[in-house]
Every structure is written in C-alpha cells, then in structure tokens.
Symmetry: C2
Amino acid sequence: MTGRPLLPVYRTPILDEWIDFNGHLRDAYYGLVLSYATDAMMDHLGLDAAYRERTRCTLYTLEVHIHYLHEVKRSDELEVRTTILDSDRKRIHVACGFGCPRVAGPVAAAEAMLLHVHQGEKPSSAPFPAEIAERIALYRHGAPELVHGLPGSRKIELTRR
Amino acid sequence: MTGRPLLPVYRTPILDEWIDFNGHLRDAYYGLVLSYATDAMMDHLGLDAAYRERTRCTLYTLEVHIHYLHEVKRSDELEVRTTILDSDRKRIHVACGFGCPRVAGPVAAAEAMLLHVHQGEKPSSAPFPAEIAERIALYRHGAPELVHGLPGSRKIELTRR
C-alpha cells in the first residue's frame, strides 16, 4: 500500500436487460459498469459536468481490456474498485477490479487508457489543468498493490496446451 | 487473402441511449455492438438458439480488448467485420474491425477470446462438436490479412514520449 487515499467504490445492481441468452450478465455490460465507474471517478477528480461545461474538456477512452473471471447473475450487485496505475500530462491509466458479495475473489478485471480532450471544432488532446493533475497524483498508486492478483492487459492469443 | 469465405458483415444503427455526455457513442456500446456481432457469428457457425437448447452448450467470453480510433455519432451506422484468427478444440480467437460509412478507415478494432461451455449444474468447458469445428475452420483465416492495419490486443501502458 502506498498510504494514498482510495477512490470511492462504485456499486450497481444488475438490470434485467443486461442478462443475455446464457442467463448471465452479458459481456458488454461489464464494460458499461466500467464506463459508469469511470464517470464516477471523473466526478471525484473534478472532471465533472461543471468542469466539462466550463472548459469543454473531457476524457475519451483510448483502449479497454477486460478479463471475465466469473459469471454474474441477475440477483448480484457489482462493486468496482478503481486504481489509477499511472498518468502523464494528458492520460490516465486505470485498473478496475469487479467484485460481487456472493463470489469469493474478483469476477472481472479491466484496464483502460483515458485521454484528456478539448472538444473544439475538432477534438484535440489537452494537458490536465494543475489542480486536476494534483488530484490525479493523489490517487495514483503506481505499482498496482491494490490490483494484485488481477490479470492485467496483455496480448490476447491462444496458447497451445 | 486465404481464399476462404468471409463471415457476414454485422450492421447496426446507433441508438439514442448509446450517446454519452461527450456527444458520441459511449465506449461501452462499441462492446455491445461487438457482443451482438458475436451473437450473429454464433448463429452463422451453427451455435444458434436451437443448438444451445439441444446441447446446453454456448460461448462464454474470456477476454476482450478494444481500441477506440474515431468518434462515432448518433447519425452513424456501424459495420463490424469479424475474422476468426485462430481456434482450438474449445476456443475461438476473433478480431473485429468497426467501420462507418462517414469515416475513412476503421473507427475501432477489437479482439476477443471465446470459450465453448456446457451449462450444467456447474458450467464447464467442452470441445466443439465435429460439425461446428469444421465450420469454424472454414472461416479461420490464420494470419490476419483481413484485419491488416488494425491495432491488435496488447498490454495497455503509458509510453513516455
């Protein structure tokens, strides 16, 4: 542990329309929960609706990698713990562990790369203002102690067994 | 090109509720379109509702990696071209290129690893039946000529520039 504060845990119930023909949470809706958890992180970092309106700046997603580790059912609730692994002037690299109270261990793990963008006539990347950069640094844990045991992003390939 | 047949292109309009506060297609809904395109591929390979009911077998998603390359707007239509890159007795590795007629070049690229699962008391991986394995092999293009120019799955990390 780095001794730095943690981002709030994002919690959501599972909606009926998120269940697919397999009788479990459709793969894409883990991504929607990740997206909502990222919105909550933006609010917490000060990249909220007022900031976005005032500056015309926001975050765009560049990449997402999700590992599906356990089925999630209609009756479950998801808890998403987000850690800022790294950041630079314009980008934030986050890792998320998905849990649900019924299941021991994570049900999914995700990483995402997010870019700070000014939405002008043509959207273009923009540095974080100093106060936002400080806030990001406060929650940046570097080496991912918090996500220890979660599979990280990697090249997807079949390994012959 | 391998001379093998191509999977049908999956097309979908963009729905109002898929647009986020950035005024573009929310990141997670590229994943939903990918998920629906995978459903269409399942139907085409014979892993359709009748198969699933008869055998209690289906596909589970193990991993997904999406690269976001271009904004998609409410007025756009998405076209997803799926290629089977590789497969083994139980798994299919697919790559998808997302296009829309307004934009030159791909708007997103994705890879996914899918596992054939028997949904019994406890879900467990199961080999494809011979006729499905043959069908998969028919569409397996190996070296990804079709996805040339698309970014592939990789470790997500900040590179210092």
